[in-house]
């Protein structure tokens, strides 16, 4: 079965703000999605990420074994940031879009659907 990554993007500003009540209601939405998609056998995995201020970006300059450069923050400073992802097992893009549209991130922000490379078929 083909797999799709559903990458969940949200507003960087609201990532760290929001009242506990707001977060609780969003968590309920995510639990609903997890239960429905899980029961349908669509979920192959997924994680929520800590906010971007906790991110560390590294780069090894000059090839393997070169100088290690470590910077504070996410790779790209953008208004919308990656907040988590699901791995969806779907037969085609339409089915992946159908499920991605039920991820709460689709209405709180954006969900990017990307096919995962199947190396056994390459």
């Amino acid at each position: 079965m083909p797999r799709y990554a559903a990458l969940i993007y949200g507003d960087a500003a609201t990532e760290t703000s929001g009242t506990p009540e707001q977060w609780a209601s969003i968590m309920v939405e995510y639990n609903d999605f997890g239960a429905t998609a899980g029961a349908a056998g669509v979920l192959a995995g997924g994680e929520a990420l800590q906010p971007t201020p906790t991110a560390t970006t590294i780069h090894v300059k000059g090839g393997k074994g070169g100088e290690l450069l470590t910077t504070d923050g996410p790779f790209a400073e953008t208004k919308e940031v990656l907040g988590g992802f699901y791995l969806l097992e779907c037969k085609d893009l339409d089915e992946a879009i159908h499920w991605a549209a039920q991820i709460p991130g689709a209405w709180h922000g954006r969900v990017e659907v990307r096919p995962v490379i199947d190396f056994s078929q390459e």
Binding site: P2, K91, D92, L93, D94, I97, V113, P115, Q121
Partner: protein
Amino acid sequence: MSESLDCMVRHEGGRVLATLVRLTGDITLAEDAVQDAVEQALRRWPIDGVPDNPGAWLTTVARRRALDVLRREAKRTAKESDAVMLDQVTASMSEATSDSMVRDDLLRLIFTCCHPALSPDARVALTLRILCGMTTVEIARVFLVADTTMGQRISRAKQKIATARIPYRVPSDHELPDRLPAVLAVVHAVVTAGHHAPEGRLDARFDLADEGVRLARLVHDLMPDEPECAGLLALALATHARRDARLDAEGHLVLLRDQDRSRWHHDEIREASELVEAAIHRRRIGQYQVQAAIACLHTLAPSIDETDWPQIAELYRLLESLTPSPVVRVNRAVATAEAHGADAGLALLDDMDESDVAQWHLYWSTRAELLHRTGDVSGAVEAIERALTCNPNDSDRAFLERRASELKC
């Protein structure tokens, strides 16, 4: 080789391709196989005669060709997906393709080519390539881009269909409201491009405007219960019906009011208005039905003075509520001025966003005409001068300058 044979093979090719895509699930493979079959047909039919069922002949040859390729691939790569395709095509060799199967295949393919996961430009290009059988070079010429750019656009789209697995399926009823507009927008883009294509830009053998009507007819035939499909076909017909009167002997555009109405194709106008009437009775109004109704009212009028302007103004009001845009507003203002006087038209122009109109010469030239009709000559001259600051093209500039000097007299 006669042109009609070439045309027939190309159009049959689209139907055969739809079937091959279903069987192989691979657009590129299907295209190669059909291309091969078409070449054979063009070689053999002039000698052997055209077979009774050209579509079936082409399908059989294309299937055989696809089988050869798949057998070779399957042997080389031992990929599971190739084996599955091979089985599917082999099993289909004895299958006779009925008309209804071809219809289903075509409908699926249209929704694939017009999938919202593809860019709007790519949807139009892919539809012209796959469903109309145009070559990449022909499409590039229509949209005034380099051949390589168009080739990349099409191959990227095909690659995305394959890699992201955009499926070959007709959306279910509840998905249709989300998916049909993309199909209609593609057909509309083809119709519009065909209408505006200047003479000499296209191959003599290829008439994009004809192709737009053919595509609109195909979509209407495939989805006869969708009133917007009927509306779009009617719009295409009513527009195309004026083709012989649109340009003068020197190839310059002739305004609607000055066109020789005896050169319009009145049978096509009749068909268009019957389509619109039947569609409107379904009571699911949409932008294409309204645009078609407007086009029909224009073309049904025996002369510009006998045009039903109040009705057209009302239709523009409806169109604006469905799809608000500065262009629709200006058209509505013109129709309203004809129906209810220049002041009523000007009031609609006054009520527009400055940012929408600041750099738009058509807004200012329209405004100038309406001001002139109210007797405000200095206002009209000022508006024309404003239009001239908006970088109009050469022929528009010449027109505006001529108009300005007429007004100043």
